[in-house]
Symmetry: C2
Subunit: 130 residues, 2 copies
């Protein structure tokens, strides 16, 4: 685990975010859900809390089916201690024709599971006008 201790939290979540973007680009909601802890939660707007991998998979599948082809994530800051980390970043959702469908910012609480970091709590808000 020395590579984990050596890396900054920013590097650690960046690696996990690359897997997130890749799974989304492959439109593979199950792979995406597997990046969350087994008791992971999404906290989306206009929705109750979405809890657990099966519900998370269903949520992201619906986003893909609605025409979102790609998610771009950019970490603004990340910090943590021991097995937990928090990250603030910005996101962009791309439609199949390459246009920006949404953009905003997010906070993710990360939890370490062995050698990997998993999304534990995931909340985001659009920066587009109402």
């Amino acid at each position: 685990m020395s590579h984990v201790r050596a890396g900054s939290y920013r590097d650690l979540v960046s690696g996990a975010n690359r897997r997130f973007m890749d799974a989304f680009k492959r439109q593979h909601a199950a792979d995406l859900a597997a990046l969350y802890t087994t008791d992971g939660q999404l906290l989306p707007a206009h929705s109750d809390v979405v809890s657990g991998r099966p519900a998370i998979e269903k949520f992201w599948q619906a986003v893909m089916t609605a025409g979102i082809a790609e998610v771009l994530l950019e970490t603004s800051e990340a910090d943590g201690a021991s097995d937990q980390a928090w990250e603030v970043g910005s996101y962009t959702l791309k439609s199949q024709d390459g246009t920006t469908a949404d953009r905003g910012k997010y906070v993710v609480i990360w939890q370490r599971a062995g050698d990997t970091w998993q999304l534990h709590r995931d909340i985001w808000t659009t920066s587009l006008p109402a």
Copy 2:
């Protein structure tokens, strides 16, 4: 600081949230802003990031002026390590006539400043339909 180490993170943020609710009920946006770190940030929907106490005060003042009389916060979970903590909770905004103007969930990243805990990153999403 032994009382800080002795308390659970849940207790620590509950105390800070009581001060938040109290300042809001007194409609005192400056007291509310003072509960954030000097480089604190709000990440509201339909808005860019709101950074620093003067901007945070202005944001909450606008919410008060729009007719929100009270904010109720309920912690669902809180955890942390050393000088940082994260919290997930639910909120209710009450109008002056006592009706619920909004309700949803939030994530706050807390930072310890001496004996007190301050809100460092604050993001929330409505649970009401779009």
